[in-house]
């Protein structure tokens, strides 16, 4: 059966979605083409390719791509595929090289993707009028690649809207992360964590702004942390950062209601804003002094008071501005997803900031952490439970139509509203049907 626009559209109701959106391999293949092939997808950060010849490899809609810096001002995003027989040209995750050479037959490319050397010379192609100067002998370029203040996104669609417009008000979450550097600069630092999930990518994207699960799913670790914290306070001690990070996961439901959720065009959203689970971390005086020197007290207070919890740039990128971490979604199959976590150094800030981000990721994002396994288990049970045919629809009905327009041009609702999920599936439907997403 083919997936007509009408049939695809019928999978999404305002207050529910068809369970097949999480379980059907054909729909997953269509998502790769129509959502991941049309949206802007996060590739990497400019600081990962600092010098001419620096390269970084990743995936875009499951296709291998290669980000290479040509010179100080120019870099390119290529499909990581040799123009000759199609082998992946660069296998390493990152590195630096003056030229890129395919290991199979030795075709070699410059950092601008132009073919520099064809093994055995050009003569073999003379009958076709081709030589190494012909465009089809070069690495092919991904149709669109743009940076938003150092964060590189790409699209397989040549007429994708301008990146900043498409990001909308979620760009302010990236801005806030950058603004927290006294020099206004970020650098990827501290390595990456890669976590395998045996479930559909959308469960993760929904869960980040699901304000109803933390105190339930993470009760075991968060309550243990709170108990230990209470004992420490009773003994007159201060709460160490580990407890400050873990304990808020067990805040009562009202705390999460008040954080609120905020939804925007193209499926984007964030939760929190005025407060979040990161709002009560101890200050770092040396850092605040550096930030005040750079910006003045008023601006510093403004920067530090913005406390968004998770920002979701649908479908691939999520960030926590307040602690300088991002998580990147890499779908593998309808029931298989890789989640990467990266940390950033705030240039000009003391090391404690990066160290806190790293501690957070160890505790929340690593495969052996104290919180993520329960999320992963929840997604696993969703993937299994939704095999059941008993009910076609998965509810997104909480606080339906109880949303208010917000000052940023989106809509806001109480924390436990399903508005964010409804908003993601509005975007899902637009991408999946002929009517593609607009920047509006």
């Amino acid at each position: 059966m083919t997936w007509s626009s009408e049939r695809l559209s019928s999978l999404v109701r305002h207050d529910a979605v068809d369970r097949q959106v999480y379980t059907d391999p054909e729909l997953f293949a269509l998502e790769m083409e129509r959502i991941w092939g049309r949206a802007w997808v996060y590739i990497g950060h400019e600081s990962q390719i600092p010098e001419p010849g620096s390269f970084f490899t990743t995936e875009l809609a499951r296709q291998p791509v290669l980000l290479v810096r040509q010179d100080k001002d120019t870099y390119h995003l290529f499909f990581n595929r040799c123009a000759h027989k199609g082998a992946k040209v660069v296998e390493l995750e990152s590195g630096r090289a003056p030229m890129l050479r395919c290991g199979y037959h030795g075709w070699t490319y410059r950092t601008d993707g132009v073919c520099h050397h064809i093994t055995g010379g050009d003569a073999a192609y003379r009958a076709l009028g081709l030589d190494k100067g012909s465009p089809c002998m070069n690495l092919s370029t991904v149709p669109r690649a743009e940076s938003y203040r150092g964060f590189v996104f790409a699209s397989l669609t040549p007429d994708a809207p301008d990146l900043a417009t498409w990001l909308g008000p979620t760009a302010a979450s990236i801005d806030n992360m950058i603004d927290r550097s006294p020099e206004g600069r970020l650098e990827v630092a501290g390595g990456a964590l890669r976590y395998h999930h045996d479930s559909n990518w959308k469960f993760f994207m929904e869960n980040l702004n699901d304000m109803m699960h933390a105190m339930i799913a993470h009760e075991s670790s968060a309550h243990a942390a709170r108990q230990l914290g209470k004992k420490m306070l009773a003994r007159g001690g201060a709460l160490p950062p580990e407890i400050q990070i873990l304990a808020p996961f067990a805040e009562d439901p009202d705390f999460f209601e008040k954080m609120g959720v905020h939804a925007f065009a193209n499926g984007h959203s964030y939760s929190g804003g005025k407060t979040s689970i990161h709002a009560s971390y101890s200050g770092i005086p040396e850092y605040e002094a550096a930030l005040e020197r750079a910006h003045g007290k008023e601006r510093m207070d403004e920067i530090l008071s913005l406390n968004r919890h998770n920002t979701v740039v649908y479908p691939s990128f999520t960030c926590k501005g307040a602690i300088q971490t991002i998580r990147v979604v890499k779908p593998v199959a309808v029931d298989e997803t890789i989640i990467e976590s990266w940390t950033f150094r705030l240039v000009g800030a003391p090391d404690e900031l990066l160290q806190r981000s790293i501690l957070y990721c160890n505790l929340i994002n690593s495969s052996a952490n104290l919180v993520g396994p329960d999320d992963r288990e929840a997604y696993h049970r969703l993937q299994q439970g939704l095999q059941a045919q008993g009910e076609r629809w998965v509810s997104n009905a909480r606080y339906v139509d109880a949303e208010e327009p917000n000052e940023e041009g989106g809509r806001s609702a109480t924390g436990s509203s399903d508005m964010v999920f409804r908003n993601q599936f509005e975007a899902w439907r637009r991408y999946m049907t002929a009517d593609t997403a607009s920047g509006g």
Binding site: L193, H197, H223, S366, S367
Partner: protein, 161 residues
């Protein structure tokens, strides 16, 4: 001058430690560490420290307490069904012994199977134990586990290596 511990005693200690994990005798296992004892699983090869680079696990007594309290919690959904493990410890070598502090640095290799709900994961690597001598036995100042696949895309890891 203190004599270096016998290799057999060190081996027996490592076997005992692994057995406590496999038998989920968490209180006894936790008590093997010194108060400032650390447990560390780096996320990359040759990782110089646990502060400036992410790790799969980096736990002091405080975080061990959190994890050990979490294990029996009835609402820890990823621990239901319960995961089980079996460790095989081998290639035990005494790398160094400081006669003044009576601290031994012991290198060993391990294979650990982690089993939960019809899925079995296989882990292997090199472990460095920094052991303080205490009476006839030892306490762990540092246990550093260098997984051979530390930088792989890994599923949930729920039991100590």
């Amino acid at each position: 001058m203190a004599m270096a511990p016998a290799l057999q005693d060190l081996e027996q200690f490592l076997f005992h430690e692994a057995r406590l994990i496999d038998e989920k005798r968490w209180d006894e296992w936790g008590a093997l560490f010194t108060e400032d004892g650390e447990y560390w699983v780096p996320a990359t090869r040759g990782q110089p420290d646990a502060k400036n680079h992410v790790s799969l696990m980096y736990e002091t007594a405080l975080l061990r307490d959190v994890r050990l309290k979490r294990y029996p919690h009835p609402n820890a959904m990823s621990l239901q069904p319960v995961p089980y493990s079996v460790h095989v410890i081998s290639n035990v070598m005494l790398d160094s012994f400081d006669a003044a502090t009576r601290i031994s640095v012991v290198n060993s290799r391990f294979i650990m199977l982690e089993y939960r709900r019809n899925e079995q994961q296989t882990y292997g690597g090199a472990t460095t134990h920094v052991l303080e001598t205490e009476g006839e036995s030892f306490r762990i100042r540092m246990k550093k586990v260098e997984l051979v696949n530390c930088d792989a895309v890994l599923p949930s890891i729920q039991i100590y290596f």
